[in-house]
C-alpha cells in the first residue's frame, strides 16, 4: 500500500494505492487524515486488530488466516509547511536544551 500525502500542512488528505505482487490493484482518495492521535487507548497491531475494530467490515481481532512473514513500513519525512515544521522544531529543541 502506498499512501501519497497531499502535503500543505497537517491533517491533509492523500491518495492510497494498493499493489499485489507489485501490480496495482486499486486506488482511492482519502480527503482528510488524523494529524495527532487516533485514540487514547487503541494500539498498532500486526496480523490482527486488537481492541475495537477500525473497520465496520469485520469484528476484532480478525486475525489473518494465512502466514504473515513480516510487515515493512517506510515513512517519508513529514511533508509539512515551513510554519508547521518550525513550530514542531522550536518546541522540540527548546525541550532538548532543558534536558541537556
Amino acid at each position: 500500500m502506498e499512501f501519497r500525502y497531499d502535503g500543505g500542512g497537517i491533517g491533509k488528505g492523500g491518495t492510497a494505492a494498493l499493489f499485489v505482487n507489485d501490480k496495482k490493484a486499486g486506488e482511492g482518495r482519502i480527503e482528510h487524515t488524523t494529524w495527532g492521535r487516533f485514540s487514547a487507548d487503541e494500539t498498532f497491531d500486526i496480523g490482527e486488530d486488537s481492541g475495537s475494530p477500525v473497520s465496520a467490515a469485520y469484528a476484532s481481532p480478525n486475525r489473518f488466516t494465512g502466514t504473515l512473514k513480516k510487515v515493512e513500513i517506510d515513512v517519508q519525512p513529514a511533508n509539512l509547511s515551513a510554519d508547521d515544521r518550525e513550530r514542531l522544531r522550536s518546541m522540540a529543541s527548546k525541550a532538548r536544551q532543558v534536558m541537556d
Binding site: M1, E2, F3, R4, Y5, I10, G11, K12, A16, L18, A25, G26, I30, H32, T34, W35, G36, R37, F38, S39, A40, D41, E42, T43, F44, D45, I46, G47, E48, D49, S50, G51, S52, P53, V54, S55, A57, Y58, S60, N62, R63, F64, T65, G66, T67, K70, V71, E72, I73, D74, V75, Q76, P77, A78, N79, L88, M91, A92, A95, V98
Partner: protein, 699 residues
C-alpha cells in the same frame, strides 16, 4: 571431633537451666523483630542471626527464618478512586443519580466535604499514591503532554516510593485494579523499562490499563506485564463491560488472598475507568435513565443545590454559583441539541450508577470474607471534577473533540441510539459537566476553582470510626491519604526505600479527624496548578486565577493578563463572593505565597499549552529518526506513540504473506479502532485499505 568439645565447653560454662532460658529469649526476640517497632529504612536491615552455627546441623542451633508481618491489628486498606466525577453527581452528595452503595458506606463512615484533588488524572493519581504534590513527583500534567522540566517529566521518582511499596515491605498483600496513567507513554511498550509499571511500584498484582481512558467494551488490558483481553462470561456478551470485569477481578483476588492468608492485611487500589469518557454502559443500565434529564443543566443545578442543603453536605449559607457566560443556557439549545444532550447525560448517569453498583460488589466481597469491620475504605469521588472536554454540545466521538474538531450535529442525532454502545466514544456537553460540579464554578483542568478540585470522599472503618454517618469539613488534599493510611497501619513514613533517600512526605495524616468532628484541620496551606490555572489556599482563604484557555478549547494565553479572585472559603463554601477588590493586601500576600510554593514544589515554569504539548518530539521517543520499520508476527498492542509514524506524511506499507490454497482473510496491519485509524486487511481474498478519521466540520 571439635564440635562436641565446643558444645561441652559451652555446657560447662553455663549451667543447664540458664542455657534454656537463653534459647527461649532468642526465639522471643525473633518474634519481636517481626512485630516490633518499625524502622524507617526499607527494606529493613536483615536481622542478625541469633542461632548458633557449628560444623553440621547436629551441633548447630537454627534461628527463625524472618517473615515480615504487618503490625498487629493493621487494617486492610481499600482505596477507590473514581475518574472524572463532580461534587453534585452522586446521590450521596445531592446528585440526581442514585448511588445506594456510596450511601451505605457514608452511613457507616464519614463524608469529607472539603477534600481536594489536582484537577487532572495522572497528577491526582501520582499525588494519591506517593503522598507528595503532583509536580513534586514529576507529574504536573498527564504523561502524554509531559515536558523536560523536573515537574513535568511524567516519571515518578524513586525518591517518592508509592504507598503500595511501603505497605508491601511491611507485610501487606497489594493489588491494583483499573486505570494507571502513571507510566510515561514511551515506557508502555513491550520493550520496557518496566520500572514505573505497577509491578515494580509495590503492587503484587495488576489488572487494568495503562493509559488515560479505556474503551469499556474492548479495553487494552494488562495482567501484570502481560497483555490480555477482557474475558466476557458466557451469556453476558454485549452487556459486560470493563466495570464488571474490574469488580470480578478484585473480588476474585480478595477471595483468594483471604483463603490463603486471612491474617495478612491487603491493600487494594481500585481505580475504574469510570466515569471518564467514553461513557460506555450496557443498555439495561441506560434504559433506567430514559427521560430523566430533560430538565437540562440549569434546572439540574438548582435541584441538586436544594438536595445538598437538605442532606447537609454543604453549609446552610452556601450560595449556588451562577452559570458563566462561556457555557450556553440550556434553553438556548435547539430541540435536536437538547435530545442529544439529554441522551448523552442519560448514558453518563447510567455509567455512574453502574460504577456504584460494581464498587458495591467489591464491598460485599470484603464483608463476605468477614473483613469489612477492619478495612479502611477511602472512596474518592473523582480524581478531578466532571470533565468539560466533551465540547459545548456533546460528542459522539470524543477524539474529534480532543483534536479540536466539532462534529456535525446531524451526525449526533443520527447515532442517538448507539450512544453508550461499542460504536460510540460518547462524551457529554460542557453544561452537563458544569452541572455535575454543583454548586461550584468550572470543572476538570481548572485547578483554580473548586469545580476542578473539590471532590467528595467517604471514609469508613467500622472498628475505628464510631461517628457513623458523620461529616468532616477540615480542608484536605489527596496527598494526605498516604500519611493517613500509614498512621492507621502504625507504619512509619520511610526515609529510605530500596536504597533511595526519600523526599519529605508532603501530605499530613487525616486520622485525627476520625474520632473528632471539630478537631482543628492539619492542612493550613495548599497550592493548586494545572495548565496555568492556579490557586493558593491558606487558613481558610484562597486566591485563584483561572488562566485563559477553557477546557474545551485550545490556544495559549498571556499569564500576566490573568484576573485573580479571592474567596473566604470558611464562610463561602462554593466561591460565590469574590473579595479581591475588598482585600487587595490579603490577595497580594497569597499571590506572593503562590510563587514560593510553586518554586518549592517544581511547579515552574507555568505552561498552558495542551495541543502543542502532545507533540511526541517533546519527550523521549522509541522511533525518533527512524524511517524504516519492520514488524514480525506477534507485534501487537504497540502503543501509538511508539509505532511507525504514518501521520502527516507519505508512506509505504509492504506485507509479505503466504496465502494457502483456499485463500486467507484477516488483518495484516491496523492502528486505532472505532474512534479512527487505518487497517490493511484481506476480505474475500481481496486486499482492502481503510482509513477513518473524525470528519472536520466548520460550524
Amino acid at each position: 571431633m571439635d564440635a562436641p568439645r565446643f558444645q561441652k565447653r559451652r555446657l560447662g560454662m553455663f549451667p543447664w537451666l540458664p542455657f534454656r532460658v537463653i534459647i527461649l529469649l532468642a526465639f522471643s526476640l525473633a518474634a519481636a523483630w517481626a512485630e516490633g517497632p518499625r524502622g524507617t529504612v526499607l527494606p529493613a536491615p536483615e536481622p542478625a542471626f541469633k542461632g548458633k552455627i557449628g560444623r553440621t546441623y547436629k551441633d548447630s542451633q537454627p534461628d527463625k527464618i524472618p517473615v515480615v508481618k504487618a503490625p498487629a491489628g493493621a487494617p486492610n486498606v481499600l482505596v477507590v478512586l473514581i475518574d472524572d466525577s463532580g461534587f453534585g453527581q452522586w446521590g450521596t452528595f445531592g446528585g440526581q443519580i442514585p448511588t445506594p452503595n456510596l450511601d451505605r458506606l457514608a452511613k457507616a463512615g464519614l463524608s469529607y466535604t472539603r477534600f481536594h484533588t489536582t484537577a487532572l488524572c495522572s497528577p491526582t493519581r501520582a499525588a494519591l499514591l506517593t503522598g507528595r504534590n503532583h509536580h513534586s513527583v514529576g507529574t504536573g500534567t498527564i504523561t502524554e503532554t509531559g515536558t523536560a522540566y523536573p515537574g513535568y517529566t511524567g516519571q515518578i521518582p524513586k525518591s517518592a516510593a508509592m504507598v503500595s511499596e511501603i505497605l508491601r515491605q511491611n507485610g501487606y498483600s497489594t493489588a491494583f485494579f483499573g486505570k494507571n496513567h502513571n507510566v510515561p507513554d514511551w515506557e508502555t511498550s513491550v520493550s520496557g523499562p518496566y520500572d514505573r509499571w505497577p509491578g515494580l511500584q509495590g503492587f503484587d498484582h495488576f489488572y487494568g490499563f495503562l493509559g488515560g481512558e479505556a474503551n469499556q467494551w474492548a479495553p487494552a488490558l494488562y495482567r501484570d506485564h502481560q497483555r490480555v483481553e477482557m474475558q466476557v462470561s458466557k451469556g453476558r456478551e454485549g452487556r459486560y463491560t470493563l466495570n464488571d470485569a474490574l469488580a470480578d477481578e478484585a473480588i476474585d483476588y480478595i477471595f483468594q488472598q483471604q483463603s490463603v492468608t486471612p491474617d495478612r492485611p491487603f491493600f487494594v487500589y481500585y481505580a475504574p475507568g469510570a466515569t471518564h469518557a467514553p461513557h460506555h454502559v450496557p443498555k439495561e443500565w441506560l434504559d433506567k435513565f430514559k427521560g430523566q434529564f430533560d430538565q437540562g443543566w440549569d434546572k439540574y443545578r438548582e435541584e441538586t443545590y436544594q438536595r445538598q442543603l437538605k442532606l447537609g453536605v454543604i453549609p446552610p449559607d452556601t450560595k449556588l454559583t451562577p452559570r458563566p457566560k462561556e457555557i450556553p443556557a440550556y434553553d438556548s439549545l435547539t430541540p435536536d441539541q437538547k435530545r442529544v444532550a439529554a441522551r448523552l447525560m442519560e448514558a453518563f448517569a447510567a455509567y455512574t450508577a453502574q460504577t456504584d453498583y460494581e464498587v458495591g460488589r467489591v464491598l460485599d466481597a470484603i464483608e463476605q470474607v468477614g473483613q469489612l469491620h477492619n478495612t479502611v475504605v477511602f472512596w474518592i469521588i473523582g480524581d478531578n471534577g466532571a470533565s468539560m472536554e466533551g465540547t459545548l454540545y456533546g460528542a459522539f466521538n470524543e477524539m474529534a473533540a480532543i483534536g479540536g474538531l466539532s462534529e456535525d450535529p446531524a451526525l449526533l442525532v443520527q447515532h442517538l441510539d448507539e450512544i453508550g454502545g461499542p460504536n460510540a466514544y460518547n462524551h457529554y456537553p460542557v453544561g452537563w459537566a458544569w452541572a455535575m460540579n454543583t454548586p461550584f464554578q468550572w470543572g476538570k483542568q481548572v485547578a483554580s476553582h473548586l469545580g476542578g478540585v473539590r471532590n467528595p470522599m467517604v471514609v469508613a472503618w467500622p472498628d475505628r470510626i464510631k461517628d457513623k454517618g458523620g461529616i468532616r469539613t477540615q480542608f484536605h488534599h489527596v496527598i494526605d491519604i498516604v500519611p493517613t493510611i500509614l498512621e492507621a497501619a502504625k507504619i512509619p513514613i520511610p526515609t529510605e526505600v530500596n536504597g533511595v533517600k526519600q523526599k519529605p512526605m508532603e501530605g499530613v495524616s487525616m486520622l485525627y479527624g476520625f474520632d473528632n468532628a471539630n478537631a482543628k484541620g492539619t492542612r493550613q496551606v495548599q497550592y493548586f496548578e494545572m495548565f496555568g490555572n492556579r490557586a493558593l489556599y491558606r487558613n481558610g482563604w484562597i486566591a485563584a486565577a483561572r488562566h485563559g484557555r477553557l477546557p474545551w478549547t485550545t490556544g495559549t494565553f498571556d499569564f500576566d493578563e490573568d484576573q485573580w479572585e479571592l474567596y473566604d472559603l470558611d464562610r463561602d463554601f462554593s466561591e460565590a463572593d469574590d473579595l479581591a477588590a475588598k482585600h487587595p493586601d490579603k490577595l497580594k500576600k497569597l499571590q506572593d505565597e503562590f510563587w514560593v510554593q510553586a518554586k518549592k514544589f517544581q511547579v515552574l515554569p507555568l505552561d498552558d499549552r495542551l495541543t502543542e504539548r502532545t507533540d511526541p518530539g517533546l519527550r523521549p521517543s522509541l522511533i525518533e529518526g527512524r524511517t524504516r520499520f519492520t514488524y514480525y508476527p506477534g507485534g501487537v498492542r504497540i502503543p501509538e506513540g511508539s509505532a511507525a509514524p504514518v501521520k502527516n506524511r507519505s508512506h509505504i506499507i509492504t506485507a509479505e504473506i503466504e496465502v494457502p490454497q483456499g485463500g486467507a482473510d484477516g488483518v495484516l496491519v491496523a492502528e486505532g479502532g472505532v474512534v479512527g485509524g487505518f487497517a490493511l486487511y484481506v476480505k474475500h481474498g481481496r486486499p482492502v485499505y481503510e482509513y477513518t478519521s473524525p470528519r472536520p466540520v466548520t460550524a
